[in-house]
């Protein structure tokens, strides 16, 4: 496998040579690629030896060496629920979908209910743009791409299905560099949604916007909010707040808070760069792809610094479900 940045010309050569790849780059870098066995998502943030912002070249996760077979499919809101059903008996699925689109909300709210969702590892990232453009013209620069069409799309999900030989099994794993602060109130939401209002706080009826404004913000020294976190049987899952609207009593998140899950505030890690590297060094299996959150890229000041595994950084990561501020690793075990 290789995980690194190539020039567009080099990527075209790889595509024409039949390589099986997940590509990430700016919309400019990804446009005009020939047909082949690839899928793509936009982001300009990478770890390629060192952290870098690159709008010219393309990051390649190349699975050719381990793939027995591969296929590409494109989904819209009407059929994305079938994404896991199309997998091989033994393999994995890498996907991308664009932030803040209908398909992003559709997938994120329901993916854990999809038929066959646990049959094969389903990993990937949320396509985005340069953070400076987000909220302005960012949507115009946010795409996913599918090699079977040789085309970029605004409001689709793309999936690369890779079949593995019998002696290799793939797994999706996550790393969360923050932990739960159980001394903070327990917040439970009655519905699964990106957009929340009513909740219970330590068992009593409450409002999440008021909680964010009156409890969370003061804890952050008046400077914004921090993410909520829950444990799904030991898997630490973040939900990053996006917009707190006190007048409307609502808070939107970068991923849906699930009904019934118990959320607390985070205990943040103290040195993301060191913690990330330590977590990777502790891995015993082979990592074939790594997708991380730009919250770590910015919060850990990764630009110009080195993490021992290359990968792209995006506005959301996927490991069967949409995740925030998480590192997703696709790993393989060989018999």
């Amino acid at each position: 496998m290789s995980n690194k940045i190539y020039s567009k010309k080099e990527v075209i050569n790889l595509i024409n040579a039949g390589h099986i790849m997940l590509l990430s780059g700016s919309d400019k870098a990804l446009s005009g690629l020939p047909k082949g066995k690839w899928v793509a998502g936009t982001t300009p943030y990478f770890m390629d030896g060192v952290g870098k912002v690159d709008e010219e070249n393309i990051f390649v996760d190349d699975f050719t060496d381990i793939a027995k077979n591969a296929k590409v499919e494109v989904f819209d809101t009407t059929n994305v629920h079938e994404i896991a059903k199309h997998g091989y008996d033994n393999g994995f699925i890498v996907m991308s979908l664009p932030i803040d689109t209908e398909i992003y909300f559709e997938f994120s709210n329901k993916s854990l209910e999809y038929e066959g969702i646990y049959n094969n590892p389903l990993v990937g990232f949320v396509a985005c743009c340069n953070f400076n453009d987000y909220g302005n013209f960012g949507q115009l620069k946010t795409f996913v791409g599918a090699g079977n069409y040789g085309q970029l799309f605004h409001n689709k999900a793309v999936a690369l299905y890779v079949e593995l030989p019998e002696n290799i099994t793939a797994r999706a794993e996550i790393i969360n560099l923050d932990t739960i602060d159980y001394s903070t109130p327990k917040v439970v939401f009655p519905k699964t949604s990106f957009f929340q209002s009513d909740c219970t706080i330590d068992g009593k009826p409450g409002n999440i916007a008021e909680y964010m404004e009156n409890y969370v913000k003061p804890r952050m020294g008046g400077k914004g909010y921090t993410q909520m976190i829950t444990s799904q049987n030991g898997a630490l899952i973040n939900r990053d707040p996006k917009v707190v609207d006190l007048a409307k009593g609502t808070t939107s998140f970068f991923s849906p808070a699930y009904a019934g899950d118990e959320y607390y505030l985070v205990k943040p890690g103290n040195d993301y760069l060191a913690m990330f590297n330590d977590a990777l060094k502790a891995k015993k299996s082979e990592i074939v792809a790594c997708f991380s959150c730009i919250s770590y890229f910015f919060g850990g000041s990764f630009e110009g610094k080195s993490i021992i595994k290359n990968g792209c950084y995006a506005f959301g990561e996927i490991a069967y479900q949409l995740l925030n501020k998480t590192i997703v690793t696709l790993e393989i075990d060989r018999a």
Partner: protein
């Protein structure tokens, strides 16, 4: 995967992992969230313990190499 086995499905520990009678925290992400989801589904009447046990067993078959340490911890021998 050749030459790697897990305990047979008939072992009582499988259902106890779902019910929580055995409180083992798998390190593997998919097993963590799968068991979490299954417990929620059972509590809401959407899944039976028997069906959940079968699904857990099948998932561990798929990841038999990765769960060897967990199986030794839970089942001791098989």
């Amino acid at each position: 995967m050749a030459n790697v086995t897990i305990p047979p499905k008939s072992r009582a520990e499988w259902s106890k992992l779902i019910s929580g009678e055995i409180d083992h925290k798998f390190k593997n992400y998919v097993l963590q969230i799968r068991i979490y989801q299954m417990r929620k589904d059972i509590s809401m009447g959407r899944l039976t313990l028997d069906a959940a046990t079968t699904q857990l067993y099948e998932l561990c078959c798929k990841y038999s190499l990765a769960v060897q340490a967990d199986c030794k911890d839970i089942f001791k021998t098989w």
